[in-house]
Structures are given as C-alpha cells and as structure tokens.
C-alpha cells in the first residue's frame, strides 16, 4: 500500500482557500517532492497529512491509517523534520533523542541502544553530551533529522529541510537523505530549492495557490515545459520549469 494517499484535499482559512483540491500518492521507497513558492500551501498540506489540522474536505490515508481519525497511530510510524528547528534547548544532543523517543512509547533501553548510531548518522558522535545551544545551524538540522529517525519510521516528512543552511551543510543533508532512500525509506519533501528536488526526488508536484499545476519526474517536467533551454550556455533545468509555471513575481 502507498505510504501516503491524498485525495481531493481542501483547506480554507476564512475566505482564502489555501489548499484547493489536491490529490497525490507516494510510492514506497521513493522521494516525492512538493515544490512551490512561499504561500503555495505546502506546509498546510503537510499539517493536514500529519493530522495536525483538520481538512475541510478530502481523504488522507497515512501508512494505512485514516487521518485525522487515527493520526496518532499513523504518526507512530512517521518521522518529521519541521521547517524550523524545535530541538529542546534545555537538553544535550543525546538527551534530545532520549526524550523524543519516549514520546513514541519506546523504552529507555531501546532508545539508548539506538542513540550512538543516530548520533553517528548526524555526525555528532563527539557532541553527545553537548548542550544543543552551542551547536551550529547545520549540526542542529542534522540532529533534527536524526531525531526524526528515533522511531525507525517507514516514512519521513521533511518541510524545507535545508532552508537557511550553507552549501556544505546542505550537501551533507542531501547525502544523508540519499542514504536513507537507498535503505528503502520513503520521503515526502517540500522545498523551493530546485537543485534539491532534482537530486533527491523521483516524483515531483509543483504547487501554486493551493493547486498542483504540474507533476512528473524531474526530466519529464523539463522536457514537457522547457523544450528549448532559455540559455545557450546550459541545458534547461527545473528552475526554468518552476519560474515558467509560477511566474517571476515575489510571493511574500
């Protein structure tokens, strides 16, 4: 069964329809990218999928469970990396993982056995007992990713995982995510970095104003929308597709 099926999702705030009837499904073991400018409705879509806000219409099935009805049960098998870091500033790196694992009902023994591997994955083995206030932005991001893996989830949901990181830190995150895909994890990713989408995603959907306006593999989207590169100096890329479809005006 598909790890996530979204069917005809609608969500409005007041008069504004933030999500205007979108449908998509994830393929197990693949990375699905939800692209779109700021305010396109990506984060609201994720919040609905996780059962953190109730949709006005539409069906969501997350790891086989109906959402929001059984969102709590579904989230037991999901790992989430939120857009903004919300690590616990009162704890060390290892304590952050321990406390978060307890929220999944895992015993301390099980979590403690997983912590060394998670810290190694995050490249933070030497920082186990360091208070997270002293970690760099990239380290915090990697720890947040490791935290999302504490329950060994089937599906990872990443909301703009590399926003605000320098290129080195971003490449390290990409490498880790590729490793997780190679292990067979499924990923749902929102981003507005086209390079990120091209590198990681097998399937893409471009969202604007609450609707999916294009979908396909990165190469399909480029071939379909930009048959001729706008510059003779380079081949057409996803950024060209994105700007063609969503326009050049600022969205903030």
């Amino acid at each position: 069964m598909a790890p996530l099926i979204v069917d005809g999702l609608h969500k409005r705030y007041g008069d504004r329809e933030v999500v205007a009837g979108i449908s998509f499904a994830l393929v197990k073991g693949q990375c699905f990218g939800l692209l779109g400018p700021n305010g396109a409705g990506k984060t609201t879509t994720l919040r609905c999928c996780l059962g953190l806000t109730a949709p006005d219409a539409g069906g969501i099935t997350l790891v086989g469970e109906p959402v929001p009805g059984r969102a709590r049960e579904a989230r037991a098998r999901i790992g989430v990396v939120p857009q903004f870091d919300n690590l616990d500033p009162d704890f060390s790196a290892a304590e952050n993982l321990l406390v978060f694992g307890r929220y999944f009902g895992l015993s301390d023994a099980v979590i403690r056995a997983r912590i060394p591997r998670l810290l190694e994955f995050a490249g933070l083995s030497s920082k186990a007992d360091t208070n997270i206030k002293t970690l760099s932005g990239g380290m915090k991001r990697r720890l947040t990713l490791a935290r999302a893996l504490v329950n060994d989830p089937d599906l990872l949901v990443l909301d703009e995982p590399t926003t605000g990181l320098d290129p080195q830190a971003r490449h390290l995150i990409w490498e880790r995510l590729q490793g997780l895909l190679a292990e067979g994890k499924t990923i749902l990713l929102t981003t507005h970095f086209m390079e990120e989408a091209e590198r990681l995603c097998q399937q893409l959907a471009i969202m604007d104003e609450g609707r999916i306006i294009a979908r396909g593999t990165p190469n399909e989207l480029i071939a379909e929308h930009i048959p001729v590169s706008p510059s003779p100096l380079r081949p057409a890329n996803l950024e060209d597709v994105f700007l063609k479809l969503t326009g050049h005006e600022l969205r903030d």
Binding site: L52, T53, A54, A76, N86, E95, R102, Y103, G105
Partner: protein
Amino acid sequence: MNHFSPPQLSWRAISVWRRNFMVWKKLAIPSVLGNLADPMIYMFGLGYGLGSLLPAALPQFGGGSYIAFLAAGTVCASTMNAASFEALYSAFSRMHVQKSWEAIMNAPVALDDVVLAELLWAAAKATLSGVAILVVVAALGLTSSPLALWAIPVIFLTGLAFAAPGLIITAVAPSYDFFMYYFTLFITPMTLLSGVFFPLEQLPAGFQAAAQVLPLTHAVALIRPLLFGQVPAMAWLHVLVLATITVVAFWIALGLTRRRLLS
C-alpha cells in the same frame, strides 16, 4: 472541527511530564530555594513584625499566634503562585517560544496529552513549593498535628485548580507581557480577599460572598484547619469546588489551545 469537543487523553502525557521533570532536575535545588525565599520573607516579616503588635491568642486567629495563622495562608498562596507561574510563563515558553509542543505533536502524542501533562506538571511543581513551606512551618513548631499531612493532597489539588485557569490565559496570550494583567487583576486581589493574611470575616459582607467563588478561599478553608489539627468543616464542598474549577478550566484551556495550534 469543534475545538471544544471532549478531551482525548492518553498515557503518552506521562512522557511529556517526564520531559519537564528532567529539565527541572537539572536546576532542582536553586529552584526549590528560589520558590521558598519569597513566601518565607512575607511569613516572617508579617508574622513576627505585624504579629508582635497584635494581642496574643485572638479568637479570630484560631486562638494561636498570628504567624501560625499566617503559615497556613502562606502555604496556600505559595502553591497558587508556583502553579500560576509554571502554567503561564514556563508553559508559554515551551508552547510559543521554544515550540516544544509542536515538536511533541509530530510524535504520536496529541495536543490533549500535552496540555494534560502541563496541568499535572504545574500542579506537581506547586506541590513541591507548598510542601517545602509546610516542612518549614512544621520545623518551627507552628503545626504539630498529624492531620497536617492531609494538607499534602489538598496542596496538589490547589495546584491543579490554579494551573488549569493559568493554561487558559496561556492559550490566549500574545506575549509574556499579557500575564501581568492576570497577576494584577486576578492573583493579587485574590491573595488579599481569600483569608490568607486575615480572616475572611473581617471583610464587608459583599466581599465575603464574592470570596466564595475564588479558588484560594477554598484552599485556605481546607488547609488552615488541617494545620491547626482540626477536620475542616464541609471539606467535601471545598474539594468539590476546587475539582470543578480544575475540570472546567482545563476543558476551556484545551479548547482554546486547540484553536490556537490546530487550526
């Protein structure tokens, strides 16, 4: 979605309570001493300073010294303050500033569990505050009855009855500054109107009636007799009032928090 539908609580709340306890443990001793200092200053200052001006063994003070009368009030007021601070400033910090609640809700923990955990944690911390004063009061010989041990569950219930309304304010607070209104308009007047510093009977009749709706009045009505070694009159009624305030205020706080975070 109806934000005021019945709470759906689960045992996962314990994991959130443990998170707060784990943070507190790191600073436990300064925290307990800090919570003890302020009420002790009031109790000794007013108890001995003001008390020495008063004739000994006034019937209004239960026939004992003024400081023994004030001690019971101090236990209640300190419990109230500790529960309120935790449910306001600390919970707001976790909800709004650190976004800890959002992180927790990405795990299989519902907001209902998080708010329940905050309620139980604030009451637990208030219990530590109240019991710390009770220990000092007993060490000074201001109470000697074994009935005083019954004050401990009452202190916890008092903590709940103040944590729950505090969480309502937290649910609607735009910033820390907002809490000033709650303290100056609600907590401080209540401290003066609930029989902490002087018997309720000294107030005009209208104020006495109004005091009956204040949770602190009921906490004092239970704890003072217990510290004097007496069984409180109409104890069930005072317990019922405090329990009702807890349940109703928790429900409202949860509804408002759901509206704030789950829209």
